[in-house]
Symmetry: C2
Subunit: 391 residues, 2 copies
């Protein structure tokens, strides 16, 4: 329980100038507050719930907002279905401020903000709104779960302001300025900015977030009527596939409702694949030798394997293309040194290394991660030097 | 890299007497060998691949089988689609032995074993076969990934031998003896035996293993045509849902093909739910205010939440019914001691405790896991004693 939180960053000046007003002090809003405070930015907190804003203040996310704040930036971290209205209200209330949000759907919010501004004849204000969506979260909500590092190295999508045309002179420049200011906010929160159009964003999150959520829920729902003995056989696979099925239904109805068309498109495609697998399994259930049925099932599993290979690793980087060469290492002093000397002689660079300490094993297993070109060389050369390479 | 592996078990005598012949020395066969060796059982290893059996020997899973083994038990750990034939062959080759297997589908194997024995007029041998399926595995295959603790505390399904009727006098007793011998093997491998009928087992694994596999593959396959920018937004949710999509297609075609009917039944039910969600999303995409559509989506997410709540925790126990009370704790010496004293005074037992050390936080968050009845008491009493309870 230390109050440091700066993690060696206090020497870097914040890119954000002036006050950031955080509207909505749940997990995301309070986490942004913590991150901004850690680099010295003035953060004012507002939330319709007095308890929520007091909690956010108590965890160190900022000070309570006064009645006459003049923020340079407003971060709207409200629930998705009220985000557009709060954004429009804040654009009106703070004419000198740039407003951004964190809602996980962008097209619907953008449309609703534009409609609200249009009703008020305030279309020009659109140049001060930058849609945002930090790809970060936790299974727990609320300021008490907030973390200053929630956004660190995570993608933070920004939708640059639209250029409405010639009707508003100078607008394009203002839009660019707005974007720069929000880019500074993202940098201060240590996020990785990703510029996208709203439609492009919504298609992307349908695939990487909303469809997986629906699939997890559907698989988990199958367990409702299962016998206790059946559920007791569950292992890590089922736990992983269904973990996010425990998410908040209220929030997900908002998200799926606001992104209905892209999610429906992806789910229709998924159903076509499912129908292919089902036809094959129905055929196999009737005739275990049904021609072509196993090939259809194999294709579905193959395509899944190719798809998952595109998923970036835990730290946001693309999957590393290393290949693993496993070598049995006798339990003798100097064995590993000898192995590394031989690998060096062969001229292959070891990118990563893992030694398995499995109970009950008489020898160790050294796993050498190497670039693909290095693998055949090690597999050819190491046995000549007396090493046993595992298949 | 130590050669102990006994983990304090050497004092417990093995329940298995005589030699266990492991046929198929991949991950499961070699892991069983390691576990049995750790409690002193004689293990003979056989595999069609000389390399595979030598590797299993080298990792300590047993000795190479000689030409005239007389095992008391044969553990067939072959691929699912050859398991039945290997079981029948071994029943014939070792008339004094009980044979069991590890194939992840049981009905098809049982039928094929019975058919093979019937062709040979050797129905009586069925009393020496106990179908088995340890619910354990790793993402990596082969003896070099084997672990003596792979089965520890994991369910190990056993299908007791069928009673073929009056035709074979004394068979029932032999069947019971066979089961006892395999129960001993499971105990020596530290597994948790679960007795089930073959059909019941196949329905269960369809729900907890095979349907999740298909769903993971279908979701992952949607990423094949996604833009690079979209895939780059992936987070832990997608990674979890799609992790098992990287599994071996060859193995999964065997498994799904052999369990086609139960998997198809569960997938048809899943498709009915999917169609409901799709109809709702299609309606919302056309008309954001479509009546009843949000309720349909909410039901799917709700049912998923109720289903996932039935999934046992990591250690095979049912999800613990504790509830969490979060208390803000100032960063002062003695705060936690004071909190625990107050909780004790209130008379609530703390089942589990977690203190969050989040960077950038000015106060800590103590999370007290208590039985459900304790939560309202703490929420009422702690604030009266000056503690701030998080919502």
């Amino acid at each position: 329980m230390s109050a440091s939180g700066g993690q060696g960053r206090s020497s870097e000046p914040a890119r954000t100038e002036g006050t950031v007003l955080v509207v909505g002090t749940g997990l995301l809003g309070a986490s942004a507050g913590l991150a901004l405070r850690a680099c010295g930015v003035d953060v004012a907190l507002d939330d319709p719930s007095p308890t929520a804003r007091a909690l956010a203040r108590d965890v160190g996310a900022g000070r309570l907002a006064g009645p006459d704040e003049e923020p340079s930036l407003v971060l709207v971290a409200a629930p998705p279905d009220v985000t557009a209205q709060v954004v429009a209200d804040r654009l009106r209330a703070h004419p000198g401020a740039v407003v951004t949000d964190v809602a996980s759907v962008k097209g619907a919010v953008l449309e609703d903000v534009a409609a609200a501004l249009s009703r008020e004849g305030a279309e020009a204000a659109a140049a001060r709104y930058v849609g945002g969506h930090p790809m970060a979260g936790r299974e727990r909500s609320g300021a008490t779960s907030a973390r200053a590092d929630l956004f660190t190295d995570r993608p933070w999508v920004l939708v640059p302001p639209p250029v409405v045309g010639e009707r508003v002179p100078g607008e394009r420049t203002r839009g660019e300025e707005s974007l720069q200011r929000v880019l500074g906010l993202v940098a201060d929160c240590r996020g990785v900015p990703v510029l996208m159009g709203a439609a492009e964003h919504d298609e992307a999150v349908a695939l990487v977030s909303h469809v997986p959520q629906v699939a997890a829920s559907l698989v988990a729902a199958r367990l409702l009527d299962a016998r206790e003995e059946a559920v007791a056989l569950a292992g890590q696979g089922l736990r992983d596939v269904t973990r996010i099925a425990a998410s908040d239904p209220g929030l997900w109805v908002q998200i799926l409702g606001a992104n209905a068309a892209p999610v429906a498109r992806a789910l229709h495609a998924l159903r076509t694949d499912l129908d292919g697998v089902l036809a094959a399994l129905d055929a196999l259930a009737t005739d275990g030798a049904a021609v072509g049925a196993r090939a259809r099932v194999a294709r579905a599993i193959d395509e899944g394997g190719a798809g998952v290979a595109r998923v970036p690793g835990k730290h946001g980087t693309a999957p590393v293309p290393f290949e693993v060469v496993s070598v049995l290492v006798p339990d003798e002093p100097g064995s590993l040194a000898h192995l590394f000397a031989d690998v060096g002689d062969i001229g292959v660079n070891v990118e990563d290394f893992l030694l398995e300490h499995a109970p009950g094993r008489l020898v160790g297993l050294a796993e050498l991660s190497v670039l693909p070109a290095g693998r055949p060389r090690l597999e050819a050369e190491l046995p000549r030097r007396g090493w046993r390479v595992a298949g």
